[in-house]
Amino acid sequence: MSLDNRLQEPRPGLLSRLSAGETVLGALLLLIILVGLMLVGKGAYMKVKAELSQVLLERAFDARLAGDGHVRPWPWADFDTEARISAPRLGQSAIVLKGASGEALAFGPAWLVNTPQPGDPGTAVIAAHRDTHFRWLKDVRPGDLLEVTRADGAKLTFRAGEGRVAPWDRSGINAQAIGRHLVLATCFPFDATEHGPLRYILSAELIGDTGPDGTIARLSGSDGLTTLAAAAAVKSF
């Protein structure tokens, strides 16, 4: 605004010295600037909302972990918290919501309800926006550890594998796959500003599971299960 003030009023009494045409031009430019500011504000609002809401979500999730039942992060929130995901090497963490509606994704990463819970047999899928909560996904390297704390208190550690790119409807992710996998997904390319059909898919394998009481409940790599071709083949409708 200060720039614009300087332009419009380089000397006092500017308005009176402007001709009719110049006033119209000035008003038009002012209008364009206003629209621009609104757009910038809208974009910034999305980002700020995404960051700030995580604070409230964090609080709601802690309450859930403490056993206070389903605490709504804020009274008009339309979703539940489901888990916490963190990438210790990158120092990133976020609260995962249940159900990937556009609404929920604006506030945090979302676990797709048609996939098993992280740590259960099969492939759990968590998706988030590339420009907010999963901005760090491109920096995850194969071998990195990813930690998931479920709402039931289970702490799980996954080891990241290779990332790949696929169209959204041909993800190649089998929710019933053998073993216990976690897939983190976000939009691709990372720096595009448009909606697009491509997704970046990072798969991870479960390496250990600490129960709510702190004991190692089970060690379940996929190897024990793969020998019997066990998983459901065609179940996802």
Partner: protein
Amino acid sequence: MFLDDLLTERAQRRRASHRMGLVLVALLACIVMVGGLATKSRAETAVPTVAETTSVTEPAGYVRPNDMGTGALLFPSREPGYFVEAPRLSTDVAIDVSGPVIRTRVTQRFLNPSKGWVEGTYVFPLPEDSAVDTLKMQIGERFIAGEIKPREEARQVYEQAKAEGKKAALLEQQRPNIFTNQVANIGPGETIVVQIEYQSATKQSDGLYSLRFPMVVAPRYNPAPVVQTVDIDRASGYAVSDPVPDRDKITPPVLDPKTNAKVNPVTLTVTLGAGFPLGEVKSAFHEVNVETVDPATRRITLKAESVPADKDFELTWRAEAGKSPYAGLFRETVDGKTYLMAFVTPPVGTESPVKPKREIVFVIDNSGSMSGPSIEQARDSLALAISRLSPEDRFNVIRFDDTMTVHFPQLVAATPDNRENAIAFVRSLTAEGGTEMLPALQAALRTQGPVAAGALRQVVFLTDGAIGNEEQLFTEISAHRGDARVFTVGIGSAPNTYFMTKAAEVGRGTFTLIGSESQVAERMGALFQKLEQPAMTDIAATFDGAAAGDITPNPMPDLYRGEPVTLTAELASAAPTGKLQITGRAGDQPWRVEMDIAKASDGSGIAKLWARRKIDDLEASAYALPDPAVLDKKIETVALAHHLVSRVTSLVAVDITPSRPAGAPITSTDVPLNLPAGWDFGKVYGEPGSTGTVPMQKAMALPAPVIEMAEAVASKMQAAPTARAASLLAEQSAEVALPQTATLADRHILMGLMLIAFAIMVGAGYAFLRDDLARYIGANRTGGRA
């Protein structure tokens, strides 16, 4: 003079510094804009890739299980996530109607056209109320028959057999109306015969009886669009090469319906034993031959040369004029228990001639989950509903998210003014906030004042049902419903149908699903008819003199115009006596019917119908049970006892091939196979009378179009060299679709910055040149004057 000079000089210096500043600002704005443009063009380079991939999403000939409108065997295709339909060689449908029970047997023969091993998925859509109980298959030379088992156990048996390389099949219920049958280890070039049997009840409305069989064939083998697969280079993010360069050379043949009829012959026979003298028998969409066996029995066959319409087969029949039965009672004894099925059509005279007065409370959900098309559909539906009210009706509108607004302080007469007012209110709603449904429901059920004498209280609930406290809501409905009926309208592509179906059941109303904008008028129209003309309420059935039986459905739903009361019951003894009483209320008038149980006529399949409805009732009562495992156990018990596929039980196939006599040749092309006793696959081999034996597939010459089609399918299939690998391929095909995970935030910010930069540039440029311009214009003017 000196002073003058000084002043001019100072002014000039000031102007120069101003100019300097303006130049700087303009330069800065330019840099910002160019920077913005560069980023934008970078983003746009990704767009062409986008356009190409989206056009590939529905390649011709590739299908998904949900697309299937008729029975089909699907193989994993080379496009992950998509399937190809196995060439269907022939289909035989035998429908046996005996009174109220319809028994359908579908036999289909498919071909594995590939040179490798595959695991296939047989998909079959069925009417919602059907009970599947039989599965028989022939894969190559092996015969397998399904056995009912608890779902998990069945899956284990199947996986075990699959891993051992055995032929196996597993029939599971995916949704109440979709069944899938996985078939493991289909060898190269083998044919597969699938036979399933299911039972359903005849539909009856206004004296018109009907049955429906799904025959819609999804569009197949259309001319291929340009098929291109994009392979993304991870480093650059751009597509580099097409991994299957010859893909576009695979042009699938286009099958026109006439050829299709020859290639894929469908034979359909209905043995219609209505149980009463038949009047008109009609097939709405297909040409049929009707043969009269006796006054109450007809045999209906599809005309051989007729081209199958791309519509479900629908058969309707009426009783001979004046002989229409208004009541019926059938029974079947299984394992020492008697199963009854009764239907009564309330006499027309009991219907009130004038429309009853109604009191309607509309409740609309405008929470955040409804945003987008959902809220539009909800607004349209509700506006339509309000505009249909007549001035005698009274109504109110409640909207809720995490807050709630009751539009009128109390129920108001539906005068044109009030309707306009309410519609304007509805039109102004936007979707925001959380979903707190309970207060709204309480307001609708409790605070709208007492029901006026003779009036009908109806609560219409429009929501996507995205809630977590279902039990609380069910309890509220059942405790405070009073005489009100609760109708739910599900909005959006994936509403919580569980909640809405159950809420409507508990509230004794109906559930209407509106999936898209185009369905609003039609579906809401059907709902209005029900709302406007309820025929009979408070229906109950009791046994007089007989031991109380287990009656389904429970509670009995209200009846609408022309519908009969239909109920099934289980009685403990094998030869029960006594009377079945059905009572109800039409308007103010009570109504009552008695039927003598001993006089019931025998009908087969009634036990299964009862079991199927019992399972529905159990599912409906789920909210009242503390532990879902208890419910599952109850359903499992009923389903296992009656050999039914359900949510918790599946049919798993066991290899029961008759063993080949020692010394017989192992693979001989012309030795017919012996079918297990009681099996009938003859029709799908096109040789009537060949019951008991089927020829080996290699002995049969396939017609040219089939071979052509088979080649086209084989070229798209992903077949594996071994049976084990086949199951891995099939696994890959089941995959998860990912949501949109990009916001337009960056774009908004970028565009905003560019707009600001543009405005500053123009402004600064103009200010910079203003004096020159003024001087120029001034000079021109003076010049003109001189």
